[in-house]
Amino acid sequence: MSSADGGGTVVTRVSGPVVTVKGMGGSAMYEVVRVGELGLVGEVVRQHGDSATVQVYEDTSMLKPGAPVERTGAPLSLWLGPGLIGNIYDGVQRPLPALQALSGTWIKRGEKADPLDTARRWEFKPLLGAGQEVSEGQAAGLVPETPLVEHKVLIPPGISGKVLSAVPAGSYTINDVLAVVETAAGPAEIKMLQKWPVRRPRPARERRRVDGPLVTGQRIIDTFFPIGKGGCACIPGGFGTGKTITQHQLAKWSDAGIIIFIGCGERGNEMTEVLREFPRLKDPRTGRPLMERTILIANTSNMPVAAREVSIYTGITMAEYYRDMGLDVAVFADSTSRWAEALREMAARLEEMPAEEGFPASLPSRLAKFYERGGAVTTLGGERGSISIVGAVSPPGGDFSEPVTQHTRRFTRVFWSLDTELANARHYPAINWLRSYSDYLDEVEPAWEKLSPGWRELRAEAMAVMQREEHCRQIARLIGPDALPDSQKLFLFIGGVMRDGFLAQSAYDENDMFCPPAKQAALLGLIMALYRGGRDLVKAGVPLSAVSALPCVPEILRARTGYAGDDLPGLAKLAARLAEELGAAAKKGAS
């Protein structure tokens, strides 16, 4: 006797974000539908006969059986074109500033806004003329999107042929036809605005080997556990270990052309902080505001969980779009655990059989698919582009043996292990140097060796010192440091200098927040020179206290904040002073 008994495409069952709809014959998986009078956005996730199960991206309170459903016939697709940079979107690409203008402080259900401004005119410089042969991925023209980003309007994948007509240089909107290309399937219009389904990877000509580091300006990362351009990293840590701060630091200072920051199920105030800071901060390489190369995706923890599931695909699709212009893109996903939890929540509502800890059995393959959308490629247009992905993981209870951490480790080659003990001592970034690893040393080595010959050996030596330090600390924990001989106490001393003078890095100190590779190499060289000199002195019978009392030691400890990033002459002077003082101590010891 229900109103749903009539014909048409209507809701028959509502259970939270999972809605069953009948009259959906012929629908495709992941087709987008609009549900109810409010037009809530949803996606078809399962089909059974004439009915389909729809995952709705918004709150479904007071949605009733019998409510109308409108089909769109297309999968969830993004708007790609100039205007993405500097914007902030929710998980399904609704522009949050535009939503604020429409409905104020609170996000109302069913609110719609175009992801890109359709009225804005962009300066377009064509690179094609009529009669020319073009192929997919080739640039049809250029648009200066921001002072940092020259946006290439590309011939979309699948379109090749002769240009029938092309517009002259001028200002156009994203919907204006810029060129018409004759293809086998008929004439195709080229516009700035292109649409692409979020769940489908954009094609590239071929994968390349990762070459060169993604310079982040963070010493422990660049020097010890580097990530290559096109690499994938996993950064797990319990709460309070500084995952988000580390991600923010990377997003601020990485030398990528485009930064995409996905706030996936995290705190609202953290996104506000990014919004407040990025326009103010200057890119150390270009001096321009960081926002001019950044796109933010914010689906905070209290926003609908189904949209959270899509948000990382939204981010990675935008990344691929800019990669295809031949740019290096870095994607930061904070946190992939919240994404996995969204998967779990949706799977439970769909009554799927759970695997480990309630996560669906498809979790590993979904993670693999996501991380495989990263990498270095030759684009369809023949250019070199890359996507580096850094995924934060929030393991429950800080226990790294849980499924999301474990599976993420399988598909990433860098592991930055955050450590509660370091965080408790307020040593930031709290990346544990004994448990972290990077598999990109071979790929980044040439760039470092060019900058600082002997880098790899120096790095290995420093790692060995830190390992010895840990060993000595363990013994000292049992018998007290004073019971150790000077030759072992030396490791405690140098380890302390490494921790405070190199591994710790302030996110707020002007000189320290971004440490250029040359300064990193100089600082590491300085500390290792202290180590070698100290080792020789101790061997020669000089007491360790004479080494630790060298007047330049406090200076070395404060060098990370005391010297500007480009003050290499100053650091060289300090190194000379150290050598002098070590020499004097040796002479004194000998006499």
Partner: protein, 477 residues
């Protein structure tokens, strides 16, 4: 007006009979025009009607969760009246000074609040773009908080505690003393009690009365003997009022939620009654999202002078910080104040644990222009030194205190002074921030100057005072 929901008794269609009653769930067949999450009045013959809400609805039937228990209901005679909207709370400024139950019905014998403004208790997410970043330092007068884990207006900072620890006293002190430095007026307080004992609620009520705060407190009580499901709505009712006071009336609101562990247990109870697939420790897989839908209802927004600052109290089962409730809370809130059993047993009040406590927003609310320029460096140095104290203590346990080096012995003394003089204070002692900072320097000055690597030379020149202090310490001042 029906006493139970405030709705007129003829509202909505009434259905008689249920095909299934199980635990808190009632299945009503052949319903029409019923929405998901819709409010329902369920009644037995002649019985008092009880509130419920729709958990799932199809074109054939509706699954209703009864908020107040199903005892005495009979499948044949039970009646269900669907009220046409989800749970709403009338909100008005006049609700300050009143006591309500978990659903927002008066529990102090007074009349229902007069208000034409009825809000969905689930709220809507704040657009992240509309948020303003919180950065006004709140002086709580508690050194362990102000000095080490400062709270700012619009922050959510929970207290992680254990059974038998004085979290209620710490929280009451915080409520009494919290204000911006130099301001007289404190916060408006919205207090939500979930599953706590009557004594606890009474304790807070007495404390509010004694400090003259009662007129700016609204209490939502769902005590230990109230039905479990009501607890799930209690914090939502409280936060709905808080949002009205903060963002419509421009007040600064402090929301106290106690005890979130009870809330989560109710959520687990309801989840298992529905036959959901359990996650860690039997808690539902959506615990994180559910908690976030509460904790994220805090902060400041554009276009309103008001703010919501949140402090949730939760007791960690067997003091385990990795238990799902504190764990997921810590991932959502902006830090945590952790109470420590060992400190408490040594008689230190407030027993705020030095190292695991954290305030994420502190960095932007202290220092030059907010508290004092030396504040961030001082905090960082105190943390570093206290972390070292913990290592020295572990060592002393093994090799004995006598075997320690002179430097390490000094650290032990520093640790004692830090706990006994800096952390420890009276329950009625309201320390201005300057006093807290000076005390911090005084204690730091027990250590040799060259150990203080996190402080710049200039700041050390200004604040480091070797010699004087240790004398004071010895003379017992």
């Amino acid at each position: 007006m029906s006493a139970i929901s405030g709705y007129p008794p003829d509202r909505g269609l009434e259905y008689v009979g249920a095909s299934r009653i199980e635990g808190l769930l009632v299945v009503v067949e052949r319903v029409r025009d019923v929405g998901f999450d819709e409010l329902v009045e369920i009644a037995g013959p002649g019985g008092r009607p009880r509130l419920g809400r729709v958990l799932e609805v199809s074109d054939k039937c509706a699954l209703v969760q009864v908020l107040e228990g199903t005892d005495g209901l009979s499948g044949r005679t039970v009646s269900a009246r669907f009220l046409g909207e989800s749970l709403r709370l009338p909100v008005s400024r006049s609700m300050l000074g009143r006591v309500f139950d978990g659903l927002g019905r008066p529990a102090d014998g007074g009349p229902p609040p007069l208000s034409g403004d009825r809000r969905d208790v689930n709220g809507s997410p704040i657009n992240p773009v509309a948020r303003r970043y919180p950065r006004e330092f709140i002086q709580t007068g508690i050194s362990a908080i102000d000095g080490m884990n400062a709270l700012v207006r619009g922050q959510k900072l929970p207290i992680f505690s254990g059974n038998g620890l004085p979290h209620d006293r710490v929280c009451a002190q915080l409520i009494r003393q919290a204000r911006l430095p130099g301001e007289k007026e404190g916060f408006s307080i919205v207090f939500a009690a979930m599953g706590v004992k009557r004594d606890v609620a009474d304790y807070f009520m007495r404390d509010f009365a004694a400090s003259g705060a009662l007129s700016r407190v609204a209490m939502f009580l769902s005590l230990a003997d109230a039905p479990g499901v009501e607890r799930l709505l209690t914090p939502r009712s409280a936060l709905t009022l808080a949002e009205h006071l903060a963002f419509d009336c421009g007040q600064h609101v402090l929301v106290v939620l106690t005890d979130m562990t009870n809330y989560c247990e109710s959520l687990r109870e309801v989840g298992s009654a529905r036959g959901e697939i359990p996650g860690r420790k039997g808690y539902p897989g959506y615990l994180y999202s559910d908690l976030a839908s509460l904790y994220e209802r805090a902060g400041r927004v554009d276009g309103s002078p008001g703010s919501i600052t949140q402090t949730a109290i939760l007791t960690m089962p067997s003091d385990d910080i990795s238990h799902p409730v504190p764990d997921l809370t810590g991932y959502i809130t902006e830090g945590q104040i952790v109470l420590d059993r060992e400190l408490s047993q040594r008689g230190i009040y407030p027993p705020i644990s030095g190292l695991p406590s954290l305030s994420r927003l502190m960095k932007d609310g202290v220092g030059k222009g907010y508290t004092r320029e030396d504040h961030p460096a001082l905090t960082s140095q105190l943390f570093a030194c206290y972390a070292y104290v913990k290592r020295v203590r572990a060592l002393a346990d093994i090799i004995g205190e006598e075997e320690l080096g002179a430097g390490d012995k000094l650290y032990l003394k520093f640790g004692e002074a830090f706990e006994n003089r800096f952390i420890s204070q009276g329950e009625r002692e309201d320390r201005p921030i300057e006093l807290t900072l000076d005390l911090g320097w005084e204690i730091l000055s027990m250590l040799p100057r060259e150990e203080l690597r996190r402080v710049g030379e200039k700041m050390l020149d200004e604040h480091y005072r070797s010699g004087i202090i240790i004398k004071n310490q010895e003379s017992g001042i």
